[in-house]
Amino acid sequence: EEQVLVIREKLAELYESEQQWSKAAQMLSGIDLDSCMRMIDDTFRLSKCVQIARLYLEDDDAYNAEAFINKASFLVSSSQHEVLNLQYKVCYARILDLKRKFLEAALRYYDISQIEKRQIEDEEIDEEALEQALSAAVTCTILAAAGPQRSRVLATLYKDERCSKLKIYPILQKVYLERILRKPEIDAFAEELKGHQKALLPDNFTVLDRAMIEHNLLSASKLYKNISFHELGTLLGIPPPKAEKIASRMIYEDRMKGSIDQVEAIIHFEDDTEELEQWDQQIVGVCQALNDILDSMAKKGF
């Protein structure tokens, strides 16, 4: 088995040098990591699992990469090897990204971007890599399903000063402020995306399309008390029946408050009980505005 291991590793190196990533991964995956004939330590097992996952990810093969990352997850908690642990985290984030679990991927990318050390054992962590992780976190958050969970992550990212220096900041700002995104902005954002983030879905929308439509629908819910299907379709740039379908799904999944009147072909964005709650909120707003004026007066010596 020792000789088989050496041969497989050498062959994998050759495949890697020729950028045949999946073949290299397949070569390494033939190594018996659970053999009872040899003493194999957990660090070695972990390093092989992570290496194979990384190779599969070079070919965007999330399915096979996930199998090895799942094996690695049993070993990583007891691992003291910081470089391997970091590589594991990066692989896991990328797998979630490829599988379109965008919110989870965003949280993991954000976690990686917050690494404070600039040197881990022999590996140097450069600022650009951390910036890329942060940018990936922002991208994934924007692509995630619009709703309260995404809003929380958006708030965290928006308030992180480092994000203001990213190229992607203007769109983050608009998404955080729940503003409607127009076609030129969406097209500019699309240029920064990877293939799987623009993939076509069964309903004939791309991943990006769906994220933008849902975001714009949520933005519209902040601006309108109610809107006709027809006008909503015009606003979102899609046929009215599709606009209705997406709205109904978001309401059903509790990601947007509202109700649909199919007879009048109108979506009402607020619940019936909210009028009095709004009254309370408006009163609070008036009191705060009054306080602000009194503070301004005090500052000016009145």
Partner: protein, 221 residues
């Protein structure tokens, strides 16, 4: 408060510039001020002596322009277009934004028909896009669009420069608000007193009933 904070620096800048420029040199400054996307208040600039000195000169139309932007609306401009300079696209946009603020002074619920007439807009989509992009997203107005009732419910609108005679109305409104609040506090105090009284009388009644029950129990045993 936000909009005032944002435009405070801009106002300062233009006031300082206006203080050092004289005569025709003020004209491009006035045009710049009335085109600036962050500025919605002009009385500070209007109060600068150098600007007021333009009255009676060949550039007095620009003082008129500043007054229009301070207090007037798009309809006012159209009625007096022959006596005012031609407006650029940015100035037209700003004047329409200020028109919405003036509309919101008198009514909290603005019908689409009224807004479309005031803003020279021919369809609902165009009106709503204007209200969303140029008013709500600019931070000068907050509210909700109601397509069913075809109106815009205003929750907040930034303040415009005060017109002569408006101060009296404001003071009256403040007085009314104060006296209504005082009356309401008195009502609340009375209600609290009434509730306390009812609670006491309820406790007493409960105790009387319990005492009576005890009496009856004793007499039965």
């Amino acid at each position: 408060m936000d909009i005032e904070q944002k435009q405070a620096e801009v106002i300062d800048h233009f006031v300082k510039q206006a203080s050092v420029l004289k005569g025709p040199a003020l004209v491009p400054l006035i045009v710049e001020a009335t085109s600036n996307p962050s500025l919605f208040a002009f009385s500070e600039i209007l109060s600068v002596p150098n600007v007021l000195e333009l009255e009676g000169t060949e550039n007095s139309v620009y003082v008129g322009l500043l007054r229009l932007f301070a207090h007037g609306t798009w309809s006012d401009y159209k009625s007096n277009a022959d006596r005012l300079p031609q407006l650029s696209a940015d100035q037209v946009l700003k004047l329409k934004q200020l028109t919405v603020l003036t509309q919101a002074e008198t009514d909290k619920v603005l019908p689409y028909s009224q807004l479309m007439q005031e803003l020279d807009v021919t369809n609902v989509r165009e009106l709503e896009d204007f209200l969303i992009n140029e008013c709500m997203y600019a931070g000068i107005v907050r509210g909700k669009l109601d397509q069913l009732q075809r109106c815009f419910e205003v929750q907040f609108a930034a303040g415009r420069d005060l017109r002569p005679g408006q101060l009296g109305n404001m003071i009256q409104t403040l007085s009314d608000w104060l006296s209504t609040s005082d009356n309401m506090l008195l009502s609340i105090q009375e209600k609290i007193k009434w509730a306390d009284g009812m609670s006491e009388s309820d406790k007493k009644h409960r105790k009387d009933v319990e005492d009576r029950i005890e009496e009856v129990k004793k007499s039965l045993s």
